[in-house]
């Protein structure tokens, strides 16, 4: 039995990415915690603060000790505050910044789950009160050369994370775009697969939420956003933003939040769908 060790480090986030993972309905969370992900291979979740049994120094020690002894994948949820030496986020007497650099250095590679660790997300929104940076920005600055895979989304769909980690474990090739997002999930614009695309093409635009039509004028960022929400759908295929008659806020993009705010106003289209 091959063990793939995972350390899940929560930095400046809202735990939404963890909860989204708990919502997984294809490969279920019980499989991830207890089962073989692919035959002969299991994930050993050394550290995950929302789920793990222990608390306090005990668990910090385990995280640090194991990280010296073992090969592991580092998963980062949440953003890294850097202003004032990163004092705005700390755990176990260390700043997130210190812990990230330490773990990143020792890891076999990093998966950033969510828009915060991938790109900065909401906490990086203007005026960026705590000087937040993405994981990639920080390790590049510090000269830490590790592979980074970004799984953005606020939160990301559980399949995007689980699909990526399954491919890694099964040693299957993973193709990334220029923002380090797996093309399997972020390969096409929302707009390309949008069920309301016919409305857009015909010029039938909703001007109020009580009207039927394309949501572009109500702020939909689908034409600018790479993700497979329209075909994958959310919470086990129940629904997703545009199916719920809500504009896409473009949460998988670096423009989330400043470039996409105001959320309910149209964003000018230069080119669409290439």
């Amino acid at each position: 039995m091959e063990k793939i060790n995972v350390i899940w480090f929560q930095a400046g986030g809202c735990t939404g990415c963890t909860i989204s993972l708990l919502n997984s309905s294809s490969l279920k969370i019980k499989n991830l915690l207890l089962d073989e992900i692919v035959p002969g291979k299991i994930i050993s979740l050394i550290f995950q603060p929302t789920i793990m049994a222990g608390s306090g120094e005990k668990v910090i020690e385990v995280m640090m000790e194991e990280s010296y002894k073992k090969d592991f994948i580092l998963v980062v949820e949440g953003v890294i505050p850097t202003k004032d030496n990163g004092i705005y986020g700390r755990v176990g007497e260390k700043t997130f910044l210190e812990i990230l650099c330490d773990l990143a250095e020792k890891s076999n590679g990093i998966i950033c789950i969510g828009s915060c660790s991938s790109f900065g997300g909401i906490p990086k929104g203007s005026p960026n009160p705590t000087g937040c940076k993405s994981v990639k920005e920080i390790i590049d600055e510090k000269g830490i050369e590790k592979k980074v895979i970004n799984i953005p989304g606020c939160p990301p769909h559980p399949d995007w994370f689980l699909g990526t980690i399954t491919k890694i474990i099964a040693n299957l090739p993973l193709e990334l775009d220029e923002l380090n997002r797996p093309l399997d999930f972020y390969g096409k614009l929302i707009h390309e697969n949008c069920p309301r695309r016919p409305y857009f093409d015909k010029g039938k635009f909703a001007k109020s939420f009580s009207e039927e039509g394309c949501l572009y004028l109500l702020g939909c960022k689908g034409p600018f956003t790479y993700a497979d929400c329209p075909i994958r759908e959310w919470n086990g295929g129940i629904n997703w933003c545009i199916k719920n008659n809500s504009p896409c806020f473009g949460c998988t993009e670096t423009e989330f939040i400043d470039g996409n705010s105001p959320l309910f106003k149209r964003k000018e289209i230069e080119k669409i769908g290439e």
Partner: protein, 511 residues
């Protein structure tokens, strides 16, 4: 000075919390709760379109985003002057979204955040159920992460332990159903997109109604049968936790789940204030202030409506959490507060269900002020809300409006009061030139995890810790069980940071 125990991080809660307690003769004599993360979401809101606040503030917390989405939407609607015009259908759909999240939270909190304090994962027998089998195979691989390391105080008999463990796994699935239920109306979860100022985005049709009823039936079965039995057994084998973790007995709730009844908006869980478990008073929002005498801000007392105090790191104090107070008194917020207020107001079906469940546990209502009491309160809420969701669904009138259009005023201000699973959430918004000019959030965990106020009174969690006997200082499960019973949500306490490092380490026991 006694021994100091520091727990950092407290896991299985939302966010980054550090707890320090001082112990003399095995008893906690002083306690401090410190939040460890500051993001400044309120500052990020300044200058934006007011409608963005609903989406941005729900990102304060991925466990209770709906509470912030609701409070923010209500604050906007009060500022826009459209509170009374929101269609009944929209209120019903919002309530379904909101209640699904409270139901999810009850299951998550009991099974996945707390139960590992009581059940022993390593004691299992094969072939009891597929869930237990999964654990057996897991243990045979000699790989116990993330279930070790852990604290030890396991007393459940083998059969009860096995059943609870089975339901820990089963609960993972049932909790997911609650979010699927939410997603039917809210688009996706976490961070729904259905609730917006003016109503909800989506009309509800027969297919959604049928789908939602199906999910509710599955959740109802689990909650009424398994959740209830498991909770009863925890209470049976850990009875002293009816005496441990009591706070002041002062409770405050803003009320939640508004609906129109005969043209008037009423809340299914009513608002109110209770002093010392007995004296009821209607809520008067003007009595809410924030004490900052032990927080690193300039001043002593501020008003959330007008003031956003400047930081002052030179000041004596121990937290960046402000201390919200009502009429200068400390209040606990959360499920117990909501139940006690509903009980005192004779609100049905709450009163009947509370009496019924208290009877099952053979306790009186004062025992809700304890670790087990908070767990029982969450169960009662889940049970009642599941049934009420079934009623709400059938009240939706598919042909009627779900949304109304509105204009954003040039200048205005508004307040939005709602409840997260963990307690009262208040949002204050100021608008100038159609943009947000001021935004303040008082979240439940700032009420519960607040530092000492101007009168020297500890916050609710600190109060609940003080006086507790710690049987084994190397293994202070009592502290963790008390803190977790409040279901603290640190990401919500957006104002908090811990800037001061402790200098002396001579007496520390690292736990």
């Amino acid at each position: 000075m006694g021994k100091k125990i520091i727990i950092d991080p407290v896991t299985r809660i939302e966010g980054h919390l550090k707890v320090e307690v001082e112990i003399e003769n095995k008893k906690v004599v002083d306690a401090k709760c410190r939040g460890m993360l500051y993001r400044g979401i309120e500052k990020i809101l300044i200058g934006r379109d007011p409608r963005d606040a609903t989406q941005i503030t729900q990102r304060i917390c991925g466990v209770c985003p709906i509470a912030h989405a609701s409070a923010s939407t209500l604050a906007c609607e009060s500022a826009f002057g459209i509170t009374e015009k929101i269609p009944q259908n929209a209120l019903l759909v919002r309530n379904l979204i909101h209640a699904s999240n409270h139901i999810h939270n009850s299951i998550l909190h009991f099974y996945h955040l707390c139960l590992l304090d009581f059940i022993d994962v390593s004691k299992v027998k094969r072939n009891i159920s597929s869930e237990i089998d999964l654990i057996c195979k897991f243990l045979e691989r000699d790989n116990y992460s993330p279930f070790i390391p852990r604290d030890n105080d396991f007393r459940l008999p083998e059969d009860v332990n096995l059943r609870c463990l089975h339901n820990y796994i089963k609960g993972l699935e049932i909790r997911r159903y609650a979010h699927q239920l939410l997603s039917i109306f809210g688009g996706k979860m976490p961070h729904q997109c259905g609730i917006i100022p003016g109503g909800v985005t989506q009309k509800v049709d027969a297919g959604k109604i049928e789908n939602a009823i199906g999910k509710l039936k599955d959740i109802k079965e689990f909650v009424e049968l398994y959740y209830f039995r498991d909770l009863k057994d925890i209470a049976k084998f850990y009875p002293e936790y009816f005496e441990i973790g009591s706070s002041y007995g002062n409770y405050l709730t803003y009320g939640v789940f508004p609906l129109k009844e005969n043209g008037e908006i009423k809340r299914f869980q009513p608002s109110g204030v209770v002093y010392n478990m007995e004296k009821f008073e209607e809520l008067n929002p003007d009595k809410i202030t924030e004490h900052i005498v032990n927080s690193w801000y300039k001043g002593e007392i501020v008003n959330p409506k007008f003031d956003s105090p400047e930081c002052d790191i030179e000041k004596e104090g121990y937290s960046w959490i402000k201390s919200p107070r009502y009429d200068n008194n400390v209040f606990e917020v959360g499920p117990v507060a909501r139940l006690i207020v509903a009980y005192m107001k004779n609100k049905q079906p709450w009163k009947e269900e509370i009496d019924n469940i208290l009877g099952e546990f053979n306790i009186d209502i004062s025992k809700l002020n304890s670790v087990l009491g908070r767990h029982i309160a969450r169960f009662i809420e889940a049970k009642v809300l599941i049934n009420e969701c079934l009623n709400w669904i059938l009240k939706i009138k598919p042909g009627d409006d779900f949304y109304i259009d509105f204009e954003i005023p040039e200048n205005s201000e508004g307040i939005g009061f709602s409840e997260g699973a963990r307690g009262a959430v208040g949002h204050w918004i100021g608008i100038k030139n159609k943009k947000i000019s001021n935004y303040q959030v008082i979240s439940p965990t700032t009420w519960n995890a607040s530092p000492k106020d101007k009168n020297g009174n500890h916050g609710a969690i600190e109060k609940a810790l003080i006086g507790t006997e710690i049987k084994d200082e190397e293994n202070p499960v009592e502290i963790l069980r008390i803190v977790r019973s409040f279901d603290p949500c640190l990401a919500c306490a957006v104002q908090i940071i811990d800037k001061k490092r402790l200098k002396k380490k001579d007496f520390f026991i690292w736990v």
